[in-house]
């Protein structure tokens, strides 16, 4: 327990437990992971403003074991670092909180939408879908097939016939996909 006190103040721990889906021990474990990324930059003692001020470059976070094989790693980090390419510990917590088992579908759908929205125009348009598919299949699908799949996806999700998926539409369809919760999930 003594170790806990030096890493985070009680107030910080309370705050993070209130704001994320993690328990104190999980927060500490995440801190350990965070520190492993760069022991020089991240101190053991995170009290004060260090949780927000200690910033890691996105490339380091993308390289962590949980994300390195994920084709969307760069998008994930970007979404959770608020568009900057620097990640502080709080963002890091937020990220894994959204991927945790306890996070409800609403939260996951919100972030999934932003991750798949590669050009950040708040809609999943054709380009986003093509991009997503290329990442998903690792280039094993040819152009016509991708176009066909994109067309089908739009057909299924579309409601207002504007050839792009808004967040509302995305939410609507993703709620009904039984696999979404189990796949949009990273254990820590």
């Amino acid at each position: 327990m003594g170790n806990q006190q030096t890493t985070f103040s009680q107030d910080q721990l309370d705050r993070y437990q209130d704001c994320t889906y993690f328990t104190a021990s999980e927060i500490l474990r995440l801190h350990k992971k965070f520190r492993q990324l760069s022991p020089e930059l991240v101190p053991t003692d995170m009290t004060g403003n260090k949780c927000t001020d200690v910033l890691l470059p996105a490339s380091l976070v993308e390289g962590m074991p949980e994300l390195k094989d994920n084709p969307f790693a760069d998008r994930i980090v970007r979404v959770f670092s608020d568009g900057t390419s620097l990640v502080n510990f709080e963002n890091f917590l937020c990220m894994f909180s959204a991927f945790s088992e306890q996070a409800p579908c609403e939260v996951k759908a919100f972030y999934a939408f932003r991750i798949y929205d590669a050009d950040e125009d708040q809609f999943l348009n054709e380009n986003d879908l093509v991009w997503t598919l290329q990442r998903l299949t690792g280039g094993h699908l040819n152009k016509e097939e991708i176009d066909l799949v994109v067309k089908k996806v739009l057909e299924e999700a579309e409601m207002d016939d504007d050839a792009r998926i808004s967040f509302m539409e995305f939410e609507h369809v993703i709620y009904r996909s039984p696999d979404f919760l189990s796949t949009f999930h990273i254990r820590i």
Partner: protein, 946 residues
């Protein structure tokens, strides 16, 4: 000329229009009350016209609408859009019930959507008012407290969350300082404490998540499919902990404190008992037979009624299991079946839910790329294929193939069951003789046979099912699971039937003869013990060691050789493994009455199983090439578990209520049925002096009428619940329809706005599908809807019918009029159908081409009636003055009159060769009205004017 017309004469434009089109002043307000028109024009519509004529005084109210009324016009229009009117068909469901409960949630949804459009808040500090706004949105209205759950769900960055949280804390401090009643403070404090308690227990439960790391490892390498097996195993393990404690504490522990004498004290523990469960173990707390039928007085002064405790503890164990399993099943079912409809969005789930974010190994990631690709290719080709159906010959081929496999399967299963039965009945002795006196083998012979069947048959079943060539791999899995399950349950049923059958009981006792007590419960307990143990060993040895480890060794040895290229490491057989788990758990439930410590044995078994399986998977297996649809199959497995549970509960009920217990052993040796102990208990309670009231209560409870009324009450409850469920379903459906319609409505309104602006600027309206008429026509086709809405007649409806400036009354009917007639509904909907007939017959048929369109959703089509302006009014050629007035209100609402240049409007109207458009007329009339209003200030104009 009525008052209306005199009034209108003050507006030159309107009067001009009026003179052009009106020949009869009376008709001016006949159009105003469509009922009158219909009665005049169309005999058919007389009876069921929902419109009520407006009261005369309202009719003659001699004034133009005020600005507020004009503004409410647009609201009315919006309220009449299909997306709104659809809720009326629901008896106001959507309006009242849902709005009340979902208001807050929808607010936060709205915010979320806003966040999507704006991007999340960045890390920088936000201004206070924004935080305040967020706080208000999240906080509970009454207590001002923020539920942490809400805070966590809110997708903003941590910095903002922190601010909101500290804001809430400040508010809490402020609240404390205020003077409030002590009760209120107490209640407030209690609510906070309760909240904290809930959080703490939740945290505790989270901390207790077992094997988290191992699960992560497995999931990282093999994806959610294999890890779902381990989650299942973990669930069973956790279930067995409280069960074991429960049984041990209430049954075994008291008996341990006061051990009865063994019948044969010479038998010693040799070790082989662990495998056979017989000999020395027979007379221990392990089995039913050892428990006494009296009371235990280990602690002086206290009496522990063993038979009663035995029965109640077992019942308690079952209730505990029931609660846990039903809860899991329900939540899993809700998650995967009720909320999710995978068939509906096939591609969506294969694209957005395809990537398993939990994967952490490179090989698995590569494999996943390939899996997703093949899956997408598969469904694409499936889609192409779906058009072509199998021809007759092929159908016949498949039919005969399936008939063959089913017969084969059924005969194999039947054969296995018969084999087990006969082995039990006749062959066992012969086999035993043949074994030449090896006692262990003699004892475990049956268990060996059953376990071998369980090992071999699933392979055959999978093969058979694969041969049947199901269209979807999912179906293949389900069929295989179903067959597997039937087989396993069949085997268990045969064993149970064998031991509980009266005749067999006596014969088995004769056969087994001398050494053991004549106690069929213990025998059955031993048999099940052996089955559990042997099954465990078989799983470890054959399914794990041979099929996975040896195969891996073989692959390593033969690596690179030509002939063995196809041989690869084993894939983890999820289905068979899970089925084995279900089988084992069923055995445990059945055996627990005869062998109270079975829960403990199963507990140990699961513990080892987890580690052995995990190591084997990590070392020997390769990730599956096929994708495993976790969610729904998980639900099926849990459902099968529940079914097994219910079956074993029924079996035990039969044993307790019907079967005669052995007379030589066990807690019920002097009872006719095990259940009699409860009856005796009641009888003894009656006998006591205070038992009088108890007896009365019991009499009531056990009276037929009470049972009937309970049953009736349950029935009523079930009916209410099921109709509620149906209602919710309906609600969900209409909400979905509403969402879809709202998109359409938005577009429609936008088009209206565009056209208004276009008209206002004198530009031709944009040519689109909606603008059929072009400029000369100025048609704003309100019916450019995919659907129409079902709506009940209501007063505002007629308003909207008049309101919609759908057809141009002035221009000749050259363009085609978009009308929606659902062929299926023409008969049923006299409202639309007949009005349509009336319309066409009265207008010039040559000039109007009616285009019929089919609805995507016939449910909603009645709203047409709302939007279908009764054309007979126009056919009469009399635009009513009221009509104009209503029009004004519409126009006034959608166009800002301040910006309207009156001169342009006049010019526009005059220059239009086909006559002025209704909208412009309306606008100009409006302008005129303003002018006259301001100059004359008539009485009755006043309220709420500009």
């Amino acid at each position: 000329m009525n008052v209306y017309d005199t009034e209108l004469e003050e507006h030159p434009i309107v009067t001009q229009q009026h003179q052009n089109y009106s020949t009869n002043g009376e008709l001016g307000y006949q159009g105003y009350t469509p009922a009158a028109v219909y009665q005049g024009n169309n005999e058919l519509d007389r009876d069921d016209d929902p419109y009520q004529p407006y009261p005369q005084d309202a009719l003659l109210r001699n004034r133009m609408p005020t600005a507020r009324e004009a503004a409410s016009g647009i609201e009315e229009i919006i309220m009449e859009m299909p997306s709104r009117t659809i809720s009326r068909g629901m008896g106001g469901h959507i309006g009242t019930m849902v709005n009340a409960t979902l208001a807050r949630r929808s607010a936060s949804r709205y915010r979320k959507r806003q966040l999507v459009t704006q991007g999340t808040f960045d890390g920088i500090e936000r201004p206070n008012d924004e935080i305040q706004e967020l706080y208000e949105e999240l906080a509970d209205e009454q207590t001002g407290e923020i539920d942490n759950e809400e805070l966590r769900q809110f997708p903003v960055s941590m910095a903002v969350k922190k601010q909101v949280r500290s804001h809430a804390n400040e508010n809490r401090e402020k609240k404390k300082s205020r003077t409030v009643g002590s009760f209120k403070i107490w209640r407030y404090n209690m609510s906070i404490k309760w909240r904290h308690f809930k959080q703490d227990t939740k945290k505790f439960a989270q901390n207790f998540r077992l094997w988290q790391h191992d699960l992560k490892q497995v999931e990282g390498h093999f994806g959610t499919g294999v890890s779902s097996y381990f989650t299942f195993l973990r669930g069973l393990f956790l279930l067995s902990i409280p069960s074991f404690i429960f049984n041990f504490a209430f049954i075994s522990l008291p008996q341990l404190l006061q051990q009865p004498n063994r019948t044969d004290p010479n038998i010693t523990f040799t070790g082989e008992e662990l495998l056979t469960g017989a000999n020395w173990l027979t007379e221990t707390i392990m089995y039913y037979g050892y428990y006494i039928n009296g009371t235990i007085e280990a602690i002086p002064g206290s009496e522990y009624d063993m038979p009663l405790a035995y029965l109640l503890a077992t019942a308690g164990y079952f209730v505990l299991c029931l609660i846990l399993i039903v809860r899991t099943t329900a939540s899993s079912f809700r998650q995967n079946y009720v909320d999710g409809r995978s068939d509906y969005n096939n591609f969506i789930s294969k694209v957005f839910c395809a990537w398993d974010f939990g994967i952490t190994s490179e090989t698995a990631a590569k494999l996943q790329h390939k899996t997703i690709t093949t899956e997408l290719k598969e469904i694409l080709s499936e889609q192409r294929r779906s058009g072509e159906s199998r021809d007759f010959q092929e159908k016949l081929k498949f039919f005969s193939l399936r008939l063959l496999t089913w017969t084969l399967y059924l005969s194999l299963t039947g054969g296995c069951m018969a084999l087990v039965y006969f082995v039990n009945d006749f062959l066992l002795d012969d086999i035993k003789k043949g074994l030449g006196g090896i006692v262990i083998l003699e004892q475990i012979a049956l268990a060996l046979i059953v376990s071998s069947i369980n090992l071999i048959m699933p392979i055959i079943i999978n093969l058979l099912t694969h041969l049947e060539k199901y269209k979807y791999p999912r179906h293949e899995i389900y069929i295989a699971v179903f067959r597997n399950y039937i087989l396993k349950m069949g085997l268990i049923a045969v064993i149970c039937a064998f031991w509980t059958d009266d005749e067999l009981k006596s014969t088995s006792n004769d056969n087994n003869g001398s050494a053991t007590v004549e106690c069929w419960e213990t025998e059955l307990g031993q048999e099940i013990y052996r089955l559990v143990i042997i099954d465990f060993l078989f799983t470890i040895f054959f399914a794990t060691f041979c099929a996975e480890f040896l195969r891996k060794l073989l692959v390593l040895l033969l690596d690179g050789k030509e002939m063995c290229r196809k041989l690869d490491r084993a894939e983890f057989a999820i289905v068979n493994s899970v089925m084995d788990l279900i089988y084992g758990q069923t055995l445990c439930w059945i055996g627990v009455f005869f062998c109270p410590l079975l829960a403990g044995i199963v507990f140990i078994k699961y513990f080892f199983m987890f580690y052995i399986k995990k190591v084997s998977v990590m070392q020997n297996c390769r990730p599956s090439r096929k994708r495993w649809r976790g969610g729904q199959s998980q639900t099926i497995f849990i459902g099968l578990l529940l079914l097994s549970f219910l079956l074993s509960a029924i079996f035990l009920c039969v044993v307790v209520f019907r079967e005669v217990p052995s007379t030589a052993c066990g807690p019920y040796r002097d009872q006719d049925r095990s259940y009699d102990v409860v009856v005796n208990l009641f009888n003894s309670l009656y006998a006591t002096s205070s038992g009088q009231w108890f007896a009365t209560i019991m009499d009531i409870i056990f009276s037929v009428w009470f049972l009937y009324s309970v049953a009736a009450g349950l029935l009523v409850w079930a009916v209410i619940k099921s109709s509620e469920a149906k209602g919710y379903e309906e609600l969900v459906r209409s909400l979905r329809a509403q969402i879809e319609l709202q998109g359409d409505d938005k577009q429609l309104l936008l088009k209206w706005l565009q056209s208004t602006v276009a008209n206002q600027n004198g530009k031709p309206p944009p040519t689109g599908g909606a603008f059929q008429g072009g400029k000369e026509n100025h048609v704003i086709p309100i019916l450019h809807h995919r659907d129409s809405a079902k709506s009940t007649p209501c007063p505002s409806r007629s308003a909207s019918a008049r309101n919609s400036p759908k057809h141009d009354i002035n221009a000749p009917m050259t363009g085609d009029v978009l009308t929606y007639v659902d062929p299926q509904h023409v008969q049923a909907s006299h409202l639309v159908g007949e009005r349509m007939m009336a319309t066409t017959s009265f207008s010039n048929p040559s000039q109007i081409s009616l285009r019929q369109r089919e609805h995507k959703d016939p449910l909603l089509h009645k709203a047409l009636a709302n939007q279908q302006r009764p054309r007979s009014m126009f056919v009469e050629g009399v635009p009513s003055s009221y009509d104009t007035q209503r029009r004004n209100s519409f126009a006034g609402a959608s166009v800002d009159l301040e910006d309207l240049d009156t001169e342009t409007v006049y010019e526009e109207i005059l220059s239009d060769p086909n006559g002025p458009s209704p909208l412009l007329l309306a606008l100009s009339a409006k302008v005129q009205a303003e002018k006259s209003q301001s100059s004359e200030q008539r009485p009755g104009y006043g309220r709420g004017g500009y």
